[in-house]
């Protein structure tokens, strides 16, 4: 029997993976070839999707990008025996430089097998972390996470161990429990690492949340998942059900007497609900309005109880740390940014995908060595790092090492590691306008500078673009941005000025296109 792998993640499906899988199945049936078609997760090399892999005696070989219309020729060229007689032949999958050069901790399993296969998960080190955690005290688990140097991967980069310590040290109200909330509202454009982690390795996240529950004494967890991710929703729900059935979740985890239950909750298309306090409001069934801090969610979070709110990748990193030890994780990284970050190459890029590496690689290395330049073939001009609230970087900043502190020094943010590339056809004044427009759409409305300032921001940028009292309006925009930065409760209003001001500062010429 021949094992054939066709991914089932969102991007592969969006590129026709289902049709490819169907064509392979039909061919095998028609020609009486005994195959086992496995719908694996994606390896994250999205430029090669649909990446079809065939298991041969010397290992797995890959073909890609396979379009549904290629499949007939591929099968005729003996794809099923791993033949190299096709222009789409890529050879040994793991030797593809894009993959071979990565340091895969959190994405070690991505794309290897059926993401819902518990036997595969357990055979590849899965649930070893949980088994170990069940023999440890909560404090010992918190210490391990502290020593790993893990910082929140959602963008704010707060030390995870410290957050967990706070929740560990505070008691829930009588008759109540503490909570583990996974922020899976990955709304930043140019980011899809959370999505891939959930679609390609859902048990790793579930295990990480369960360990977090043991560490801080929480018995209940929620994954707050954006509704824009229907595939992740399907896969996570199924994974939670299977983990429950196998005793990895529930009232008596692996017969330890410990309880942890988990539910996936669907968000409702609101960007600001990615902010942790707005997220908690939304989970409670309210409008996603940002809360004033303090109290911190760690002390008074979901329904007023101590709550860990962590990003998908933060929680997904935990099983590795507990299994391999804090040092193994801390050994990789740069400065105070320890471990790996899955960078995401997106936008106008030839080879887009997930690149998991230790911190410290430069933007240029990522965009050139991995990304291979623009998709359009035109020169790169601007790069937005860290989502819609992240700065636009001109070429002079592309040698900045990718770590939290180096980016902060350039008045930029690393955020969730999303890298959106634009070629030289971009109009940066239009991008600046969009940043304000997005804030108009998505502001929760609580703070005046964000709610009203964003609307005024669109208007003033329109006047600058139309060359109306240019100098006065630029001064006004700078003032407005300062007010938004200083006067907003959360990053929505507080960081919208980052892309706006970086566009104005580094690409000022684009604001002078209007007729004088």
């Amino acid at each position: 029997m021949i094992k054939v792998f066709v991914p089932q993640d969102t991007t592969s499906k969006a590129l026709g993976a289902d049709d490819v899988a169907m064509a392979i199945d039909a061919y095998a049936e028609q020609h009486g070839v005994d195959i086992q078609l496995i719908r694996n997760g994606s390896r994250g090399m999205f430029w090669l999707e649909t990446l079809v892999e065939v298991e041969t005696q010397t290992g797995r070989v890959a073909y890609g990008p396979v379009m549904p219309e290629d499949i007939e020729a591929l099968l005729a060229a003996d794809l099923l025996s791993g033949s190299d007689q096709s222009p789409l032949y890529l050879g040994d999958t793991e030797s593809i430089p894009y993959l071979a050069k990565q340091q895969r901790f959190s994405f070690a399993r991505a794309g290897i097998d059926d993401p819902l296969s518990l036997p595969y998960y357990c055979a590849s080190g899965g649930y070893e972390g949980l088994t170990k955690a069940l023999t440890m005290s909560g404090q010992a688990i918190v210490d391990e996470v502290k020593q790993s140097g893990l910082r929140g991967r959602g963008g704010a980069a707060f030390p995870t161990g410290i957050k967990w310590q706070t929740v560990h040290d505070v008691a829930a109200d009588p008759g109540q429990t503490k909570y583990i909330v996974c922020n899976a509202d990955e709304g930043d454009s140019g980011t899809f690492a959370d999505r891939l982690a959930m679609e390609a390795d859902p048990y790793q996240l579930i295990e990480g949340m369960t360990i977090a529950g043991l560490a801080v004494g929480a018995e209940c967890g929620y994954i707050y998942l954006r509704s824009e991710y229907p595939e992740a929703h399907r896969i996570l729900n199924e994974a939670v059900m299977r983990a429950e059935r196998a005793g990895y979740l529930g009232d008596n985890i692996l017969n330890s007497g410990k309880r942890f239950v988990l539910e996936v909750r669907l968000a409702a298309k609101s960007y600001v609900c990615g902010e942790e306090t707005a997220l908690l409001e939304s989970l409670e069934g309210k409008r996603g309005m940002v809360r004033v801090k303090p109290p911190l969610p760690a002390i008074k979070g979901l329904w007023g109880q101590p709550t860990v709110v962590n990003n998908v990748l933060t929680l997904a990193a935990v099983p590795f740390i507990v299994r391999e030890g804090a040092q193994a994780y801390a050994d990789v990284g740069y400065g105070r940014s320890r471990g790996t970050l899955p960078f995401q190459l997106a936008g106008n890029i030839k080879r887009g995908g997930v690149v998991e590496l230790g911190f410290g690689v430069t933007l240029r290395e990522l965009m050139q060595d991995f990304g291979g330049g623009t998709f359009s073939g035109r020169p790169m001009r601007a790069v937005q790092v860290g989502g819609p609230l992240g700065a636009y970087l001109p070429e002079s900043q592309w040698d900045t090492p990718m770590d939290y502190e180096s980016f902060a020094a350039e008045q930029a943010v690393l955020g969730h590691g999303g890298i959106v590339v634009f070629d030289d056809t971009v109009d940066m004044s239009e991008q600046a306008r969009f940043s304000m427009e997005f804030c108009v759409e998505e502001s929760c409305g609580k703070c005046t500078p964000c709610r009203i300032g964003s609307t005024r921001g669109v208007e003033v940028i329109d006047r600058i673009r139309a060359n109306e009292s240019r100098d006065e309006n630029i001064a006004l925009l700078e003032d407005l941005c300062e007010t938004m930065v200083d006067g907003s409760l959360c990053a929505m209003g507080g960081m919208t000025p980052f892309p706006v001001m970086s566009a104005l500062r580094h690409f000022g010429e684009d604001f002078e296109r209007g007729e004088v």
Binding site: T10, T11, K13, A14, L15, F46, W47, E49, E186, G187, D188, S189, G190, T191, F192, D194, R195, S227, E228, Y229, P230, E231, R265, L266, A267, A268, K269, S270, Y271, S282, L283, E284, G285, K286, R287, G288, W303, Q344, L345, A346, G347, N348, I349, G352, G353, F375, Q384, P388, G418, V420, V421, F422, D423, V426, Q431, F434, F438, E441, E442, C444
Partner: protein, 173 residues
């Protein structure tokens, strides 16, 4: 309420849909902590929007005011208070898609469908909505049609997809 909301009551209009979409959704979910979003998703999943009488019904079930429920419904881009088309088409407006020509794509889509965002085509087949990121940013621009996502959508491909959506619909009938 009647000042803000269009009267889209369905209880009298379609009792079977009311029972299945509202009564059963509320009954099966109202015990959950923070039940409102799951209930709204369930109601809209069956009916396609949140009818005005459903808002009153949910409010009673959760011991909240109708104004509170409407406040939540109107906060989230997800929820609609009026019927739309048989299919929902969402075009990603976020930066990664912009870098790959989504501004041209959205202009094309609006022109070829003859609607703006949040509107439904005259044949009631397609409601056009913006979306801010589908997580498919490495292969932009992206479009979502109901629960399926499509990558690298050119204007020509968009037209073919719209043809397919309408054809499939006709066959089902």
């Amino acid at each position: 309420m009647s000042d803000v909301l269009p009267n889209n009551s369905i209880q009298a209009l379609d009792p079977e849909l009311w029972q299945r979409g509202v009564v059963e959704s509320v009954a099966s979910l109202k015990h959950k902590p923070g039940a409102l979003l799951p209930i709204l998703h369930a109601v809209q999943g069956v009916i396609g929007y949140i009818p005005s009488d459903a808002i009153e019904y949910i409010a009673k079930a959760l011991n909240q005011t109708a104004a509170e429920i409407y406040g939540v419904v109107s906060f989230y881009h997800q929820f609609h208070t009026a019927p739309g088309g048989a299919n929902q088409v969402e075009i990603c407006r976020a930066e990664a898609c912009q870098a790959m020509g989504s501004r041209q794509l959205e202009a094309h889509a609006k022109a070829s469908l003859g609607v703006d965002y949040h509107q439904t085509t005259s044949d009631r087949e397609i409601r056009l909505e913006p979306v801010y990121c589908l997580g498919n940013c490495a292969c932009a621009p992206s479009v979502r049609i109901n629960d399926k996502i499509y990558a690298r959508v050119t204007p020509e491909r968009f037209d073919r997809l719209m043809d397919d959506v309408r054809t499939v619909r006709v066959e089902v009938k």
